[in-house]
């Protein structure tokens, strides 16, 4: 995440991404590009990602644009199909944590009191763990599978949504239009769904895309350590793990391409998040 932010900052200072729209567009192009490539994978490559070609540790060539690995799997296929795995895990996990964190934050922030304190303590203690370590612990307990990876990552990001939504709810709650709704006779549930939630939705969207970027790195970490999808399912993190033992022997393509994809996809989502946050909260220009 820090690396991604650093790159964003660098790009901004270089003046390459001057305005928010450019950020957003760049992000969309990267993400959409990867999604399209992975969807079209069967058309783009003749090889299956989980069947050996018989050609082991072949360097990149016209036949194998990204080379092959120690089992003779075509790396290009694995990178393309791997995107499907990564996107499935990461998007479902983030959606799941959003589905838990947002309502909790709304309830906590709106009603306050004991409920709020109880939820906050749980969330804060979860937030205190570094995300990868927490995810690892959960995945280790649940075992390595696609579903468990989703759950492990989802749990990690619930506090992010909770804290943001709770904070926003607290401030929106004190605004005049919420008071006006109360004066109209609106019930609590109506105020939450019609007045509070729509006004924090933009921030949720920003956090959503930022979180995906972060979750991509967490997922990569999980599978690098063997706690995500079991082999031979194509997955960038898993490929990194396989590749890193061959790296010193000079088989750089085993690590370079999956690693590059992780960076690229995470940057793409981070760009979308940055762009969205600028687009949704434009600094108003004062006219005298």
């Amino acid at each position: 995440m820090n690396i991604v932010n650093a790159i964003l900052e660098k790009l901004k200072t270089m003046g390459l991404l001057r305005n928010s729209n450019a950020l957003f567009k760049a992000g969309i192009i990267i993400v959409a590009g990867i999604i399209i490539l992975s969807a079209l994978a069967p058309l783009l490559t003749p090889y299956s990602p989980i069947v050996g070609t018989g050609d082991e540790l072949a360097p990149p060539s016209l036949k194998h644009p990204m080379g092959t690995n120690n089992l003779g799997y075509d790396m290009f296929s694995r990178v393309l199909y791997g995107a499907r795995t990564v996107l499935t895990v990461v998007v479902s996990a983030t959606l799941l944590s959003m589905a838990i964190g947002v309502p909790l934050g709304l309830i906590s922030g709106y009603y306050g009191g004991k409920v709020d304190r109880a939820i906050s303590i749980v969330m804060d203690s979860m937030y205190a763990f570094p995300s990868l370590i927490l995810a690892l612990a959960i995945a280790a307990v649940l075992g390595a599978s696609l579903i468990n990876a989703i759950i492990a990552i989802a749990v990690v990001y619930v506090p992010t949504y909770f804290r943001m939504v709770r904070g926003q709810t607290l401030s929106i709650k004190s605004l005049l239009y919420v008071e006006a709704a109360r004066a109209l006779g609106a019930s609590d549930s109506r105020i939450i769904t019609r007045y509070v939630f729509p006004n924090l939705l933009p921030t949720v969207l920003v956090v959503f895309s930022m979180n995906i970027a972060d979750a991509i790195l967490t997922e990569a970490g999980l599978s690098f350590l063997g706690f995500s999808v079991p082999p031979p399912t194509p997955d960038w993190g898993a490929d990194l793990r396989v590749g890193h033992s061959f790296m010193l022997a000079g088989y750089w393509w085993l690590v370079a391409f999956p690693g590059l994809m992780i960076m690229l996809l995470a940057t793409g989502f981070a760009l979308i998040g940055e762009g969205l946050s600028d687009i949704l909260n434009p600094r108003r220009e004062a006219v005298g």
């Binding site: 220009e285 004062a286 006219v287 005298g288």
Partner: protein, 316 residues
């Protein structure tokens, strides 16, 4: 004797939405020792006009053309350094919100001393301190308050300090931009009393910028009415209020209730225009009850009618 003469001044704002013609070809003359009430709604350009005189406009604003002749010199031709000598000494300004214009970390007395020393390096610190004390006394701040910080004072007292700061070097002109808008009516009355007293005592001229026509009428010698970047009427307060010539002035007077008069109020139909696309001809024509075909085609000239200036085709 004319102290200030603004000629054909144009000030535009360059914004993302387009060019806002905030002050468009405005001319205004002010005599020595006179209080002129510059009346207009928000967006009429009245504050921009005030800020242009001492050239402290926001960065997106630009003075396009015109001149501001103060005491014989064109302020728009002066360098920033020369202008700095004029600000605070010859012309000073009082803003709506004294809390943002006063330094919160500095005692009020020290702020006044600093202003004095900046303009009068020959004055000793002790002398400056005495001057500050006297100025505060004159605006009605008890001398034991001189060591107070702004937050220890009430809103009305802060505005008095601002006025002390503005008048301590006895400038020839004070521009007061909505000086009482943030204050309650009783405090407002006393601040206005104070400004009137300064005018009488030292013969200072005061350009009093306000949205409140009644307040301006009560205290000023003359009233200038601005609307959508144009100056539409300028004349003695009693004349303007008792027999408004311009339809906008008339509409404004008819639309405001008065505590001492049971009267019907009449609204001015429509909305003030968007100044990135001001109406053609007379900018008031879409809302004017007396509009003629000519009004939308041609901008009316400024006419002299019974010792008053009015920009309206009705009088040509």
């Amino acid at each position: 004797m004319t102290l200030l003469k603004i000629n054909n001044l144009k000030v535009y704002y360059y914004t993302r939405r387009g060019i806002v013609k905030a002050v468009d070809n405005v001319s205004l003359a002010m005599n020595k020792g006179e209080m002129v009430g510059l009346v207009g709604e928000s967006g009429s350009g009245k504050s921009t006009l005030g800020l242009s005189i001492i050239r402290v406009l926001p960065p997106q604003a630009k003075i396009i053309s015109g001149s501001v002749i103060f005491n014989g010199t064109d302020l728009l031709k002066l360098s920033e350094r020369e202008m700095r000598k004029i600000r605070g000494k010859e012309i000073s300004m009082v803003f709506q919100d004294p809390l943002t214009s006063l330094d919160p970390l500095q005692k009020i007395g020290d702020q006044i001393v600093e202003t004095i020393l900046e303009h009068e390096p020959n004055i000793s610190k002790q002398e400056a301190y005495n001057m500050a004390k006297k100025a505060l006394q004159e605006v009605g701040i008890p001398p034991d308050r001189i060591g107070n910080y702004p937050h220890q004072l009430s809103g009305g007292q802060r505005q008095r300090v601002m006025i002390a700061l503005a008048m301590v070097l006895k400038p020839k002109l004070i521009i007061a931009d909505e000086p009482t808008t943030a204050l309650d009516v009783i405090v407002q009355d006393r601040i206005m009393e104070l400004l009137s007293a300064l005018k009488k005592e030292y013969g200072m001229s005061i350009l009093f910028i306000t949205h409140d026509l009644a307040l301006a009428a009560e205290r000023s010698d003359k009233i200038a009415v601005m609307y959508a970047g144009h100056l539409y009427e300028y004349g003695s307060s009693t004349d303007v209020v008792n027999k408004p010539l311009h339809p906008y002035t008339e509409g404004l007077i008819e639309s405001i209730p008065d505590v001492f008069m049971r009267k019907e109020i009449k609204e001015i139909p429509g909305q003030p225009p968007d100044l990135t696309k001001p109406p053609s001809g007379c900018r008031f024509h879409p809302r004017c009850p007396y509009r003629m075909p000519k009004c939308s085609r041609e901008e009316p000239p400024i006419l002299q009618v019974n010792g008053r200036l009015v920009k309206c085709w009705l009088y040509s």
